[in-house]
């Protein structure tokens, strides 16, 4: 390595500063130019690729200006990489996972995803982590490695979805009538898609109720609107038709071997049942 004078160092610093500024300016210009043409996901990808490649080029140019032999640096980098690999195993794992996520594209910026118990809108997909905003406005940073290992549900992947609602009615109710009413309620809601048709299933003989499943297709952005309206409409329609929505209850039955409990109905003014207690010893 040659001796460095002050001018060389200052020039190299200048190259580094100007180079970084240029990289950021190019990134901004690229973002503005591509924004109308690309999706947010691809825009982010293009912007980050430009940034990372640009930084690497600027660093290499600065090292050349400082008369540092890049071949030696790259050779040393191999050894350093092994050392760093052990020291920064988690970060590297996240980095590589991030590349897989960008390539595989299980979700994009703006999608709603569910990972474990976390549900939120994807704000950015970075090299080390994915940033989410939950529906209650919390910021969640999720390491890429977690996303590669875990089951990820992309809620907004397809343009239409189905909302499944379980409805339990009392055993005394007419099954055909309940099915008809549920179908009419679904058909009447403007946010419920006519096609694919709403699904109404008599699903189960529950512990306290006849259980029905109503599956309503809707456009993915109308989840909350549909949920709010359809639940209210089912309740209102059941009330108007005199259909009882079941609640958990228990019937105690003594069986045939023992006689049933004697029950006597009396008015409030009547004296209480006479109770006679016999002691076992007498």
């Amino acid at each position: 390595m040659k001796t460095l004078d002050l001018n060389t160092i200052l020039f190299a610093l200048g190259v580094f500063g100007v180079g970084l500024a240029l990289v950021f300016i190019i990134g901004i210009i690229l973002k503005r130019a591509l924004k109308p043409r690309l999706s947010p996901h691809h825009l982010l990808l293009a912007q980050k690729s430009t940034l990372y490649i640009g930084i690497v080029l600027v660093v290499c140019t600065t090292l050349i200006q400082l008369n540092i032999n890049l071949t030696a640096v790259l050779g040393a980098a191999g050894i350093v990489t092994v050392a760093i690999g052990f020291a920064a195993q988690t970060s590297l794992s996240n980095l590589i996972s991030g590349l897989f996520l960008l390539g595989e594209r299980p979700f994009e910026v703006g999608d709603v995803i569910v990972v474990g118990t976390t549900r939120g809108i994807v704000l950015s997909i970075d090299l080390l982590s994915v940033k989410l905003r939950t529906h209650d406005n919390l910021f969640v940073r999720m390491p890429n490695e977690t996303l590669i290992k875990a089951e990820v549900t992309t809620v907004t992947r397809f343009p239409i979805r189905r909302m499944d609602i379980m409805v339990g009615v009392a055993y005394k109710e007419d099954v055909k009538k309940v099915v008809r009413i549920l179908k009419e309620v679904a058909d009447a809601n403007p946010n419920s898609l006519n096609e694919p048709e709403p699904l109404v299933l008599f699903k189960d003989f529950g512990a306290s109720s006849l259980d029905f499943l109503i599956g309503i297709w809707f456009e993915k952005t109308k989840h909350l609107t549909l949920k709010n309206s359809i639940m209210r409409e089912i309740k209102e329609r059941f009330d108007s038709e005199g259909i009882e929505i079941a609640f958990p209850h228990l019937t105690v039955y003594a069986g045939t071997d023992s006689p049933p409990f004697p029950v006597k109905v009396s008015s409030e003014s009547s004296p209480p049942f006479p109770v006679k207690v016999n002691s076992g010893s007498s």
Partner: protein
């Protein structure tokens, strides 16, 4: 304003500084208060339900302008999504046969202020709330409105002043050697002009040619009024001009639009 007043065009405020538009299932009131406009809509059997000063002011939408507004322009608009409609009876169309269908389309109502030189859009109000539906497969279909009314072979008589509806004529020509089973249509009206003939409104007619299941079909959006609307005048331009590229795309997609 009485309900006898024409609903379309440039309307002036009455002495009570009010414009009232009434259709069968929709009533719109526009009140003028100094430089502001107050707008309210009511759906259902509304002819008697909206009384002057009877509603709480919170139901109104308010627009503020620099100067007092003298006129409100009321224009019909075709729905902002494709429509899916079923024929009154499922129809099997023999090879080389042609049929005409007439579809009654509920229109949107575009309200704006100003005269011909200057127009400030206020609101676009749907005359009828239509249910959503999906046309096509679940991954690449299109979100549409489902029409409650059916496509009929006979031309219906509709008074647009009462119903805010237009008639769309669809001509289907089965140019293939196979039978065409028509159970529903998906029509895009954003390439259609609107025409007025007497008390009725018409969209530009649509011609569909079915060339068989193995070939693309074609759709032509005519730029003229249908023959039934004699002496019609154009009252609204098509939101999107049917370009050749679009027609090519339509050709490609039409194979799925008749099922």
């Amino acid at each position: 304003m009485s309900s006898d007043t024409p609903h379309w065009g440039l309307l002036k405020f009455s002495e009570q500084k009010e414009i009232r538009l009434e259709w069968e299932r929709l009533c719109i009131r526009i009140l003028k208060k100094e430089n502001d406009l107050l707008l309210v809509e009511n759906r259902g059997d509304t002819r008697a339900s909206i009384q002057l000063g009877a509603e709480p002011e919170s139901d109104f939408r308010r627009y503020a302008f620099e100067n007092p507004v003298e006129f409100v322009r009321v224009q019909p608009r075709t729905p902002d999504r494709p429509l899916v409609v079923q024929p009154l009876h499922p129809l099997r169309l023999a090879p080389q046969a042609k049929v005409d269908f007439y579809v009654s389309v509920p229109l949107d109502i575009q309200l704006s202020t100003g005269d011909d030189k200057f127009t400030e859009e206020l609101e676009r109000i749907r005359s009828e709330i239509l249910s959503d539906t999906w046309f096509g497969d679940q991954l690449s279909g299109v979100l549409c409105y489902a029409l409650k009314s059916r496509a009929r072979r006979e031309c219906p008589v509709i008074n647009s002043e009462k119903n805010a509806r237009a008639i769309c004529k669809i001509k289907i020509h089965n140019k293939s050697a196979e039978q065409l089973h028509c159970t529903k249509f998906c029509i895009r009206l954003d390439h259609c002009h609107l025409w007025q003939s007497g008390a009725g409104l018409w969209t530009s007619p649509i011609d569909i040619r079915y060339n068989g299941s193995s070939q693309h079909s074609s759709i032509d959006y005519n730029t003229e009024a249908p023959g039934e609307a004699s002496g019609a005048t154009k009252i609204a331009e098509a939101p999107e001009a049917p370009l050749s590229g679009l027609i090519r795309r339509t050709f490609a997609g039409l194979g799925n639009s008749l099922t």
